[in-house]
């Protein structure tokens, strides 16, 4: 990743202008050319630096149901429980964290009933109680992370 990649990523975190030829607008700002910028974004997607380029939909407007959940998993069962969650399509972003509640993940379902069903299924499959922490309020942030 070179200086142009960094400037491009930082600029795109603020949003691509909503105009017919957005890359030309950006090329002028970044003193590059439109085709180069598009090729750079494609390369960053291909090598996994970026996982998405496009509209950042507001999760509250997507019509699905979501929650943050946690389990307190005994150390010797940690990998086995992680594998169970890995097999559930409703589970995303499963992280191990340093706390008594040591497994944290997000559930995404089409309906609120889907969330409670999935939580019940996880409790049955693992024999562990799920801490269910649905979002009650979002405090909006800029999401700008300079690279």
């Amino acid at each position: 990743m070179d200086d142009l990649d960094r400037r491009l990523i930082n600029r795109l975190q603020l949003g691509l202008p909503l105009v017919p030829r957005p890359w030309e607008a950006l090329a002028e700002e970044l003193h590059s050319d439109a085709a180069t910028l598009r090729a750079r974004v494609q390369a960053l997607l291909d090598d996994g630096t970026l996982t998405r380029f496009g509209p950042m939909f507001d999760i509250d407007r997507l019509g699905g149901a979501f929650t943050l959940a946690a389990l307190s998993v005994p150390e010797e069962r940690f990998d086995a429980v992680a594998a169970i969650l890995d097999g559930l399509p409703e589970v995303a972003h499963n992280y191990r964290r340093e706390h008594e509640w040591n497994m944290w993940f997000v559930l995404g379902c089409a309906t609120p009933e889907g969330i409670s069903d999935t939580i019940a299924r996880i409790e049955t499959l693992t024999g562990l109680p799920v801490l269910n922490l649905p979002k009650e309020e979002t405090y909006h942030v800029g999401l700008h992370f300079p690279v």
Binding site: E24, F53, P55, D58, A92, V141
Partner: protein, 168 residues
């Protein structure tokens, strides 16, 4: 009057869920695919942004690919009467990527305010958060910093594009 008819709007939204095409004229390409004009597609996208369906056409970074190895969840127990004001102030602070209010689950879980903070390494994130809490007068409030030590699954399901940023 809306720029597109209902069927065109649904098809456009499905296409945009996959991302914006990397084309010189992305809206013209999308217009061809749904049988509309470029002007109307762009007008619809602009309207969706004004309506808050999305905040920007941007990107999702894979943090670990960029050397951003420290990912901390800061949780605080803030009295209900103050939590919204504190949440607004924390969300505006540098380095805070996401900020949400969630329910306490007593006695197992006493915290009601959640922030995600990313950084290149743990020591700098810890120091940054300590400084931030001191600046906001929150150092004495009950709080914990939960660093992630391993990602077992990063995305999944049809909500993956949104989940990449939203953490439920």
């Amino acid at each position: 009057m809306t720029p597109l008819d209902d069927l065109q709007a649904v098809r456009l939204r499905r296409l945009l869920e996959e991302g914006l095409p990397l084309e010189a004229s992305p809206y013209r390409l999308l217009a061809e695919r749904i049988g509309a004009t470029e002007d109307r597609v762009l007008a619809q996208v602009q309207q969706w942004q004004r309506d808050g369906l999305f905040r920007r056409v941007g990107l999702v970074l894979k943090h670990r690919a960029l050397g951003i190895h420290a990912n901390a969840m800061l949780v605080l127990d803030i009295p209900d009467a103050e939590v919204d004001a504190v949440g607004e102030r924390l969300s505006a602070a540098p380095g805070v990527n996401l900020c949400y209010r969630r329910p306490r689950r007593l006695p197992h879980w006493p915290y009601n305010l959640f922030c995600m903070v990313h950084g290149r390494e743990r020591a700098s994130v810890t120091a940054h958060i300590a400084a931030l809490l001191a600046e906001l007068g929150l150092s004495e409030r009950p709080h914990k910093l939960l660093f992630s030590t391993r990602a077992y699954k990063q995305c999944g399901g049809r909500f993956a594009p949104a989940l990449d940023r939203a953490h439920g």
